[in-house]
């Protein structure tokens, strides 16, 4: 399975954020996206996740399940926000996402208990999500990645608000996923503690004007 991005360029509002980005990721390869604030990392990830239509170029998956229309359908996306409800308990949140997302072909997610165990917070799955501390919330959002199987992980600053221990723990999770032949794309400001990863450094296009309301 290989993820191919060809000549991607994307707009935010009326400004072109980045232009003509291409890469190929094979199974068990990881891509780390770096760059200064506002350089377009999150934008790129949202394009890969199919949440933002690229101006030009396209993303496609080779050797994946045949019936999918867009790679995003076999991808996990962990954005700046955790996609968990404050009012529901952690367990309720996780089991909802597990049942709602289901598993992509070629794998199965682990149980809630194991997932919570894997992120090192076995004893507080019964608390409402809103009661958790920032880092605990982030960890639980990672548990979401485990409860349902997706070959591709798209992670936007996954280690924000995590302590040192959790950083290592997260690195382990990613390594395990890669060994199982998964693909990981992560935007980050801090080193993720992964070895042998490809890196994409966004310079930040300084918004060259790409909108059609200008005269030449």
């Amino acid at each position: 399975m290989r993820l191919i991005a060809e000549g991607l360029s994307a707009k935010r509002g009326e400004d072109l954020i980045f232009n003509d980005i291409s890469f190929v990721l094979d199974a068990s390869e990881a891509l780390v996206v770096t760059g200064p604030n506002g350089s377009g990392k999150s934008t790129l990830l949202r394009v890969l996740a199919g949440l933002l239509r690229p101006e030009r170029g396209h993303v496609k998956l080779e050797g994946g399940p045949p019936e999918i229309a867009h790679p995003s359908e076999v991808s996990h996306y962990l954005g700046h926000r955790n996609a968990m409800k404050r009012e529901l308990t952690v367990a309720e949140n996780l089991s909802f996402w597990q049942r709602f997302m289901g598993n992509s072909p070629g794998g199965a997610g682990v149980g809630i208990a194991d997932a919570v165990e894997a992120v090192g917070l076995p004893d507080i799955a019964h608390l409402p999500f809103g009661y958790l501390s920032a880092g605990q919330q982030r960890r639980m959002a990672m548990a979401k990645l485990l409860v349902s199987h997706r070959p591709i992980w798209i992670l936007d600053e996954p280690t924000a608000a995590l302590d040192a221990g959790a950083d290592r723990l997260f690195a382990e999770l990613v390594k395990a996923h890669l060994e199982k032949g998964g693909i990981v794309i992560a935007a980050t400001h801090q080193p993720l503690g992964l070895n042998r990863t490809r890196e994409l450094h966004m310079k930040g296009f300084e918004h060259l004007a790409g909108d059609h309301w200008h005269d030449a």
């Binding site: 360029s9 707009k11 509002g13 009326e14 400004d15 072109l16 232009n19 003509d20 030009r56 300084e206 918004h207 060259l208 004007a209 790409g210 909108d211 059609h212 309301w213 200008h214 005269d215 030449a216």
Partner: protein, 256 residues
């Protein structure tokens, strides 16, 4: 490579609005001239033809009321078409067109409402009744205003265009309701007597000025619409330029 591909694309993109602007500049004088002409003839006709034997002079209201009413519906149809253009062909001008049309449509609808109720006083003895026709037109008016409000709320056109287009299409259900309300519910308002499958059933004495006025109103609509579209395009260019200026200014500030 990336640079010139970008350049090419930029050219092809801005081709539409720019060409449109040129076209508009050439078109507008003619349109406005024709409009003025037809209005002159139409008004002259509508005031020279003698009044109806039972309605008296008030029948002349019809020459304003009916075209305005028709235009109010046609304008929404134009917007619906533009919405299709936005969603299906992603044409940059389609959004501009539907945005520009909304206020004009609101004005025509308002005119139809006012003239209608002016006419209603002598005919039905009241300014306003909540019958299906009248209310559905009033709802159309509200929908125009609602769309204008929405367009103002979602200021960033890049994002709002598709969304409001969808709403325009959904709102289109109201047009047939207006058109056939007179058939579906028994109303005070008279049924269509001009736009019927089996030819008009209205005295040519009234028909002639009505037709002329209808053409005049249609021309007026297109004149206003083209002008409004031109202003909308210019407005967007100005905002785009202003944003660029701000950005580049900031960059220089950072450079030194």
């Amino acid at each position: 490579m990336s640079e010139n591909s970008l350049a090419i694309r930029k050219f092809s993109d801005l081709a539409n609005p720019t060409r449109f602007l040129a076209l508009a500049d050439r078109l507008l004088p003619w349109l406005s001239g024709l409009t003025a002409l037809f209005f002159a003839v139409g008004l002259w006709l509508s005031f020279t033809t003698e009044g109806d034997y039972q309605q008296g002079e008030t029948v002349r209201i019809m020459y304003v009321h009916v075209p305005a009413a028709w235009l109010s519906m046609m304008c929404y149809s134009v917007m619906a078409l533009a919405a299709l253009g936005t969603l299906v062909w992603r044409h940059p001008l389609a959004d501009v067109s539907s945005r520009a049309a909304a206020p004009i449509g609101a004005c025509f609808t308002f005119l139809a409402l006012v003239t209608g109720s002016l006419w209603g006083k002598p005919m039905w003895g009241t300014w306003w009744v909540w019958d299906a026709r009248l209310t559905s037109v009033f709802v159309l008016f509200l929908m125009y205003l609602g769309l204008m409000a929405l367009n103002r709320a979602l200021d960033d056109p890049a994002r709002s265009s598709k969304v409001s287009a969808i709403l325009v299409l959904v709102g289109f259900v109201n047009i047939p309701i207006i058109k056939f309300s007179v058939e579906w519910w028994n109303t005070l308002h008279q049924p269509a007597s001009v736009m019927r499958l089996d030819g008009p059933t209205i005295d040519p004495e009234f028909l002639r000025p009505l037709i002329v006025m209808a053409i005049a109103f249609t021309l007026l609509f297109f004149t206003l619409h083209v002008a409004a579209m031109r202003n909308e395009i210019l407005r967007r260019r100005v905002t785009a330029l202003r944003r660029l200026a701000a950005r580049s200014a900031g960059r220089e500030a950072r450079a030194k």
